[in-house]
Structure formats: C-alpha cells, structure tokens
C-alpha cells in the first residue's frame, strides 16, 4: 500500500514540479513585485502601496474602476450573448436534416481559430472602413463608410464583445450539441403530449436540462474573457481600457517603478479569475455529487 502511494507520488512529481515552478513560481514572483519588492532597482520594502495606488490614487482610480466596469460588462455581455446564440443555433440544427453536417461544421469552425485572427476579422468586417460599412454605403443605406456606426474601437467595447461572441459561441455550441444529443427529444415530446406549447417546452424543459452545462461553460468563458489581453488590445480604445491591457501598459512603462502597479493589477485580475475557477470546480463537484 505504502509502496503504491510512493510510486504515485514519484510519477506525479515531474509534472507537478514544472507546474509549481512555472505557474506558482511566476505568480509568487509577480506577487512579490506587486508588493514593491524589486531588487533590480534597489527596492526591498514590502507594502501594499501599489494596490492602493491602482485602486484609490487620484491618478489611477478612475482608470481602474472604469476599466473594471468595462471588463465586467464585456465579459458578461459576450458570455451571455454567445451562450444565447449557441443555444438557439444548437436547437435549430440538432435535428437531422440535409445540411446538418455543413451547419455543424460552420458553427464549430471558429473553435480552432486564434483570438487574434478573429479580432482582425472583426476589424475587416465591422470597422468603419470594413466590408459591412462599404457594402452599406454601396447599396445606399448610408452616405459614406464613415457614417457606419462605430462598432470597433468604441468606448462600450462592442467590437471586443463581437469578437468574443464570434469565438466563444462555437465553444458553447459544441457543449450544447453534445448535451442535446445525449438528451434526445423524448423529454420535449413528453412535455408536448402533456400540453406544453413551444415556449413552455423551451422554458420548462430544455432550459432546465441544459442549464447546468451552460452555466459551467459560462464560468469558463467569463473567466477567460475577463483575463484575456489580445482582443481588447486590438479592438479596444485608450479610455476606458480593459484591465489586462492596462496591466500590460504598466509593465511596458520605461519607468520600472510602474511595474509594481502593473503586477498589482495582474494579481487582482488573477484573483477574480481564480475565484471563478474555484466556483466552477465547486459547481461541477456539486453536480457530480448530485448525480
């Protein structure tokens, strides 16, 4: 028994060492820097002033809180809308019909696409110099492409939300399709024979059945979009700025003293994401226990 345990511990040690060194090592060093510990520039004192500066100083407080608000708005809106689009897409094409395979393929196509490519695609399609603006102008819907509504690099993060919807709907779609396929249509047929109309079948049957999986997937997507950098960097504006972009700009600042603020911001993002991940694991474990 003891030998078996030792064998498991020994076999797990190499990957755990890598994870601990790279992940927790990096986090720990970043955390130290966020506390002001930067031996490279002769700073050894440990305090929370970087956190205070980021959140409450006159210089950064407004940037931080509007950035946090934008982060929450973009993550929530994109997660919700991607889930809704995926749900209706999955419901529409789950039944066997002649173009099911093609629809399935098109819907899932975004999954392996890098976020960067999707962001560039959004610029090409939705910006004021993009395809839609030119098309609308050509057919006379608007006077010139410049009259097209600002959907990319706008202060409400609409371009970022569009990019995330485009990308994450595919992820939701794959999950929902597998749930719906495994459930089959018997529950809905039963509800129908018990007198439930189309809306009631959706509200009282489909939604409760897919909700546990949809909610778990939403937490993952929310956490990802909350902490991701490249899409907001490409499609966002200078103010308000999403927190990961702000953190990276602190990090790139030639004044090395600003690095503590950048790290403090990164740690705040990491804590929020970690809380979501812990909540996700708690939720999935609760579901397993329930099942």
């Amino acid at each position: 028994m003891g030998g078996e345990r030792l064998k498991i511990i020994l076999s797990l040690t190499p990957p755990l060492l890598i994870i601990f060194t790279l992940f927790f090592g990096g986090i720990f060093y970043g955390f130290l820097q966020s506390l002001g510990y930067q031996p490279a520039i002769g700073k050894y004192e440990i305090n929370f002033s970087a956190y205070y500066n980021v959140m409450f100083s006159e210089r950064y407080a407004k940037l931080f809180w509007t950035g946090l608000g934008l982060n929450l708005w973009v993550s929530f809106a994109s997660t919700f809308l991607a889930a809704v689009f995926a749900l209706f897409g999955a419901l529409a094409i789950r039944k066997t019909f002649f173009a099911k395979t093609i629809c399935n393929f098109i819907y899932s196509l975004n999954l392996p696409m890098p976020h960067l490519v999707v962001a560039v695609g959004i610029i090409f399609v939705f910006s004021q110099s993009g395809l839609l603006a030119r098309f609308a102008s050509q057919i006379g819907l608007i006077g010139s492409p410049g009259d097209f509504p600002v959907l990319v690099k706008d202060k409400y993060g609409l371009g970022i939300i569009l990019a995330y919807i485009w990308k994450e709907a595919a992820f939701f779609f794959i999950i929902l399709m597998s749930v719906l396929q495994s459930l089959g249509e018997n529950f809905e047929e039963l509800a129908q024979s018990l007198g439930a109309n189309r809306w009631q079948r959706f509200r009282y049957v489909i939604l409760p059945l897919v909700m546990p999986n949809l909610f778990s997937a939403s937490i993952i997507v929310f956490a990802f979009s909350f902490g991701a950098y490249e899409v907001p960097a490409l499609l966002g504006v200078i103010y308000p700025q999403m927190l990961p972009v702000m953190a990276f700009e602190f990090f790139l600042n030639p004044d090395l003293n600003a690095r503590s603020e950048g790290m403090a911001l990164s740690i705040i993002i990491a804590i929020i994401v970690m809380i979501l991940v812990v909540f996700y694991f708690w939720l999935t474990q609760a579901k397993i226990r329930k099942d």
Binding site: F187, L190, Q192, G195, L209
Partner: protein
C-alpha cells in the same frame, strides 16, 4: 366518450425499404384497454406517436370522437403518452412532475396541489411528493409517470411498454394497478408491448402487428382459439399446423380426414391450414375416441412441472401435446399412442 378510429394509416421513413406502418385500420371503443402487440420494430410505437401527433402519417386518418386529429397539434389533442423509460423531469420533485400538465394549462396553484394529491393517492404513493425522481425506485417512477399522465383527464392514454423496465414482482403489481385505474377512470387506453402474456393479461382487445401490418384485432381468447392466420397463431404459442383441403364439410389432411365444426367453414379456401393448441390434444393408449383419432408414435416426453409435453409423430407429421402431469397415464418415448383432435377445438385458417 373517446372512440378512436384509425383509417388506412401509412407511415414510411427514408431509412426503411418498407412502410413502418402499412394501411392499418382500427376501431377502438370508448373506455377500452387495447394492446398493440408485436416484435420490436414492427411499427407499434410509430402508430402511438402518430396518435399523439409526434409523427405525421403519410396518408390515412386518425379520428377521435368523429373529429380528425391530423390538423390538431400534439399539445391540444388530449392524448397523453407515458414513455417506456418514465422520463420524470429530473430537476422537479414528484409534486411538480405530477402537476406539470395542469401548470402548462395555467390552472390555479391550489387546484393543482389538490389534484396532485388525489393522483398520488390514486397510484398509491401519497407521501412522496417532495422527493426527486432519483430518490424513487423504478416502480415508483412508473407510478408517478402514470399519475402525471392522468392528472389532465386525457381523452386517450398511451402507454409505451409500461412494464418492460420492471422486475417480475413489480410488473404484477403495476399490471394490477393499470387495470384498476383504467376500470375506475374508464379512460380509453392503448399500450404497446412485445410480451403476449402481458397483452393477454391486461387487454380487452389485442392488435397484433407484424412488419407494420395489422394481422388481427380481436380479444385475447380469440387469438388462442380462433387465430386469423398462421403468424398470429404462432405468436400466441401455436405449434401444431396441418395442411388441409376442404372435403365435403370435412378437411382432408395427410394424417387423415378431420371432422371440423368451426363456424368459418364456408369462408375457407380450397387450401387451408388447421391448428390445434397443444393443451387441447388428447392421448390414449387405446383408441377411446369416436372421431379425429389418429395413430402415432411418441417421439419425446418432457416433464415441466405442472404439465408434461409430448412430441408425437403421426404419419410423418410432428404434433405437440401438453397434458397436466397429475393423473397421467404412463406414456413413454417410442410408445404407440392414439392422438385425438377434438373437432370443436380445431381451427382452420386460409393458407
């Protein structure tokens, strides 16, 4: 009153090379308990789903109380189906499951609560309203599914293989409960089964279906005594079949002339098959019988508790006979025996 008429019903699926349901005609009287009996894949459940409206027929009609159901959507037909695997909503408790149909109709919550209570008492599960489906046994789940189906007073109740997921003991209990409730509520009920014993024990009438075609629709007793064709006879355990030609009010077979009293003599063709159930054949070492008595040789004797089965060769034809074991004569393999086929127990069918 809920009389159901099925007229020339046809349904095909692209994946099948023959119609799943082929020209089925049925008249089910109000309050009747009818079994759709047949092997797996014969089209029973497809007919059920067409009655509910979940499948649309290619042609034909389904008429309930003189009104065609085809244009009426499933949720408005008043036809409720209980699925084979119960399908209780896992996220609802028993009360919510049972009250589902009334909630969909927008019935007042107090009335729903009262009706749910009545239904759970009807299925003899009065104290489990707050439990979730996973906390129930298979038998309890089946009863809850039945209560859920009955709460809205359906015009037709459809049960898809209602007993197939239950063990033997629960099956007996559930069978009694279905009959009791059906007789009490007088709801026209159709159930699907592949088990002929289950069909015989439960149903007023049995619709026997093979390959999408209705073979016969009659009482269980008739299937044993007067089957319509050889398929129906075999499905109900018939094993003795003898080719017979009409011969001046008798039937001429290769074991000899058989005296026949069946009322269908005039409807018979020239070439027919006669059948007799194993339990209706009589054996004697001496020729004690006046007519339809043929000399044979015992091929095998198999004791099976209450009954003993004999295989007898009569003029190259094998017949099977089942006699009660109590008080049997001493009959052994290779004994010469006289086989009596009572003329009132023989049934002839067109070939």
């Amino acid at each position: 009153m809920s009389k159901l008429t099925i007229k020339n019903l046809i349904k095909s699926f692209p994946s099948m090379d023959r119609p799943a349901v082929n020209n089925v005609n049925l008249d089910i009287e109000s309050g009747e308990l009818v079994a759709f009996l047949g092997p797996s894949g014969c089209g029973k459940t497809t007919i059920l789903k067409m009655i509910t409206g979940l499948f649309q027929p290619d042609s034909g009609d389904i008429i309930l109380d003189e009104q065609s159901l085809l244009k009426i959507p499933t949720e408005k037909r008043g036809v409720v189906m209980v699925f084979q695997n119960y399908l209780l909503f896992p996220y609802m408790n028993v009360n919510e499951n049972v009250g589902f149909a009334l909630k969909m109709k927008g019935v007042d919550k107090n009335i729903i609560d009262q009706k749910v209570k009545e239904m759970l008492e009807l299925v003899k599960l009065p104290d489990i309203g707050l439990r979730k489906p996973k906390q129930l046994s298979g038998g309890q789940q089946q009863r809850v599914a039945l209560a859920r189906a009955l709460i809205s007073n359906p015009r037709i109740l459809l049960l898809d293989e209602p007993l197939s997921n239950l063990d033997a003991h629960l099956r007996d209990e559930m069978r009694d409960l279905i009959v009791t409730i059906q007789q009490k509520l007088k709801v026209t009920t159709i159930f699907v089964t592949h088990d002929q014993e289950e069909a015989v024990l439960l149903a007023d009438k049995i619709a026997l279906i093979f390959d999408g075609e209705l073979q016969n629709f009659t009482s269980p007793k008739n299937y044993y005594e007067k089957p319509k064709n050889i398929k129906a006879a075999k499905f109900f355990g018939g094993v003795n079949f003898i080719n017979a030609k009409k011969d001046n009010h008798n039937l001429s077979t290769n074991i000899g002339t058989v005296h026949y009293k069946g009322e269908n003599y005039t409807d018979l063709n020239e070439d027919n098959i006669i059948t007799i159930r194993p339990e209706n054949i009589k054996l004697s070492k001496n020729n004690d019988f006046n007519d339809n008595s043929f000399k044979g040789l015992i091929k095998s004797v198999i004791f099976s508790g209450t009954h003993t089965r004999y295989k007898i060769i009569v003029n190259d034809l094998e017949l099977e006979c089942s006699l009660q074991s109590v008080g049997l004569q001493d009959i052994k393999t290779d004994d010469t025996i006289y086989v009596h086929l009572p003329s009132n127990k023989i049934w002839a069918m067109n070939e």
